[in-house]
Amino acid sequence: MTDRSQSCGGSCGCKPEAETVDESRRGFLAGAAAAGATVLAPGVTLYAYGTAEAAAAGADPKKRWGLLIDVSKCVEGCTGCVTACQTENGWKTTGKPATDPQWIRKVTLRDPKSGATRSAPVMCQHCAEPPCADVCPTGASFKRADGIVLVDRHRCIGCRYCMMACPYKARSFVHEALEDQKPHAPRGMGTVEGCTLCVHRVDKGVAPACVEACAQTAGAIMFGDIADPKSEISKVIATYATMQIRGDLGVDPGVRYRNL
């Protein structure tokens, strides 16, 4: 835009208005970004996870991405996070519930004595010591340098050993041939899949789809770097009592729950 306006500089009689248009657009974008950062629930800052340069450099070993789910804020019956995940990553029911893919699911817990119920989303817990990666015979299940646990489908042979090893039932197997997957979320028959913590978004410096969707309604899910004591999520974890599901297993999940 600037180049064009400079090439004639208004000398040819045309109005060099490109610059002003550009400025106003810039202003609008800046405003939108600021609004995006403030509109969301407190503690959820969507665009503060690193610069474009950092993203291009790949997974940062100094970081550990994690989630904090405030169960008291999670609304029973709301499946906003699940729908957002489906839309983002292109998985849906195949009409056969027994073999349906399930990257994230809503779980309702009930205390049999008091009858009190709690509802919370459960997805891959992105463990520091992932049992799925331990048992994988081909090295397809692995933990990225920044703590995100993934399936490298180029190496997955579909043995489903990881599904057996996962204490959280977080992985599923693709039974049927697929077409028109999302370009950023490849998935195919004969391989195992699970929550990727929206790695394609995280690499761009954007929060996972479930976090973004929940921030617009309940604001129960928080995303951030749990290895950085100065991050919002670390401050909340340091201040309030939070827990890991089956923390006794020693797998050190990166997903924590509050008020469970």
Partner: protein
């Protein structure tokens, strides 16, 4: 008697051989497999010259997939996604053909060479948005172009 029959047998074998060779030569000329009609990319220039791409595209993709998946080193516009977007073939109905069509860019050559492609068992074989004939600039930014072109040079050496 026995001598004669062995001579006959030899003659039969030789004539059969000659016929087979002749049939092969004639057949090859009569029913030559046509060269693949490779569809043109929607716009722009590729990350490397055609002769490099023909020989090395698989190495480039394999190199890129490990960087993307395991190291998280992504490039704008994606690697395979970039190829798929630029090489989309219109289905004449406003969309792009999937790999199930023989017109698909990758299939045009792979069918000819009889090499199976596994990529599209997991990856999307057409762009999310339909390709536009009027779309003058490809969806692959210059930085991605440069990164891939560098690797192409590395391979070519």
């Amino acid at each position: 008697m026995s001598e004669r029959s062995s001579l006959e047998r030899l003659l039969l074998v030789v004539s059969l051989l000659v016929m087979t060779v002749l049939a092969g030569i004639i057949g090859a000329h009569a029913g030559e497999v046509p060269l693949p009609a490779v569809p043109k990319a929607t716009a722009g220039s590729c990350v490397a010259p055609p002769e490099v791409m023909r020989r090395s595209h698989m190495s480039m993709l394999q190199h890129g997939r490990d960087l993307s998946v395991r190291q998280g080193e992504r490039i704008d516009g994606g690697r395979l996604t970039g190829c798929v977007n630029c090489h989309a073939v219109s289905d004449g109905k406003g969309g792009a053909v999937t790999v199930s069509s023989p017109q698909h860019f990758c299939r045009a050559c792979h069918d000819y060479a009889a090499v199976k492609i596994d990529c599209f068992e997991c990856h999307a074989s057409r762009p999310e948005q339909a390709p536009k004939a009027s779309d003058a600039s490809p969806d692959v930014p210059a930085s991605a172009h440069a990164a891939l072109a560098d690797y192409a040079k590395e391979i070519a050496r």
